[in-house]
Symmetry: C2
Subunit: 258 residues, 2 copies
């Protein structure tokens, strides 16, 4: 009679915390979804082996259109674990299931996992408290005006913007860093000279972080997804050092951001 929303972290099944592992092992039913974020090296068989039990994978329709009713029904009978990429509630879609459980008087808890939202600081060397509001760039053609407003608004305040790149659940296909840079430059040619930092496969062995002006990032290939993009604001000197040391930033690009 309970549900634990458990974060799977960033890359493969080893992103699970020990607490999450223990909870899933002692649950009577284990569900998972793999569509709100791409975990490049996650192997379902390995995960099942680690947990010592079968996992029922749910898709977007089952979780959103049908309200995750398999989870709710299983929770009426026993202890349920629901495995979610990253940190569970960063995907806002799952909060409605938690609310539905609360309405039925079924207790739920969250076992947190690593998330792109904090990991991007480590990957880039940019400081957490200097990020403004984050945004998601959709796959649909064009760039929403509100997204451009946010990016400019953050920049005016000297703040960094994390741009999450939309995942198309049906296809597990995500916008790439190059595609995102192109969309931004097409929407506002003035952004061509803004610096961007592409972050690919964060937390994996072949994590790749690279910075350049958006006009140049358009043509760079960061390899397989997941990808995300950061537009830095004003830089602290430690951030300058980090971008140089870990993100291949060139001095002339950095000069403009001090």
């Amino acid at each position: 009679m309970s549900v634990a929303f458990i974060g799977l972290g960033l890359n493969d099944e080893r992103g699970l915390t020990i607490e999450g592992l223990e909870e899933a092992r002692r649950s009577s039913n284990v569900f998972a979804e793999f569509y709100t974020n791409i975990m490049p090296a996650l192997d379902r068989k390995k995960l099942e082996l680690l947990l010592g039990k079968k996992i029922v994978v749910l898709n977007r329709i089952q979780l959103e259109d049908e309200g995750g009713k398999q989870i709710v029904e299983a929770a009426e009978r026993g202890r349920v674990a629901f495995l979610v990429p990253g940190d569970p509630m960063i995907a806002t879609t799952h909060i409605s299931i938690r609310l539905e459980l609360a309405k039925k008087g079924i207790p739920s808890k969250i076992i947190h996992g690593p998330s792109i939202v904090s990991a991007v600081c480590g990957a880039t060397g940019l400081q957490s408290y200097k990020f403004g509001k984050s945004v998601t760039l959709p796959q649909e053609p064009g760039v929403p005006g509100s997204l451009l407003d946010t990016v400019r608004d953050n920049k005016t305040r000297g703040l960094h913007t994390l741009i999450l790149l939309d995942v198309r659940p049906e296809l597990s296909k995500q916008l790439t860093i190059g595609e995102a840079a192109t969309k931004l430059v097409v929407a506002d040619p003035g952004l061509r000279n803004w610096m961007g930092i592409g972050v690919a496969r964060i937390g994996s062995e072949d994590e790749l972080v690279g910075s350049a002006k958006l006009g140049k990032l358009q043509n760079q290939d960061f390899g397989r997804t997941p990808h995300s993009l950061v537009l830095p604001g004003r830089l602290h000197f430690m951030e300058v050092e980090s971008l140089r040391a870990f993100c291949g930033a060139e001095d002339e690009d950095l000069e403009a951001l001090k």
Copy 2:
């Protein structure tokens, strides 16, 4: 000849990911610090038992004033693990050690862990992309003008503010939610009627989340630290539902934030 910065997560040694555990186990030296954040249930002996080896705990002076030279020296000889509360680089103090390693040509990587920065979304039901710039409220008397500016600026834009509460390393003493609310109301009596959400011991069995106007939060006791405080901006209806279901919010307080 390498260093892995490994996140310990939020509450006890079980916040470590499986990847972090494996990396620490195969390292020749394991260091840790426990002062940048409070992990209420972390037991050093249990952690050592889990890793199968001794841990050298470093303090603020060793890591900041002396630049973490034990870590750098050990990394010149072998494989080093450095365990840090939360997600490692959210504590900006450790980036300088990573830069020092880079200067010496010693490779380093980050094994991410759960962080308050993403976990606060799950605990409150507030949506990640609606948080503006975050701030840290210092222990020193008064409230910096820049902090008040950020809080007001976020509010004007309808954004939430995560207020991290300063930890005094020497004492492992942290500002409490009540003390923070009092400091804010004293600095600006107009804030008395702003809603706040206190988040205590996030990720632990006795996590406590409660919302009320700051004038009322001043006198509420949330028990042991770690504590943090969120000032919500404009609320989406799902956020309203969540605050009601999980944070004990009262209808009259919510009405003002829709």
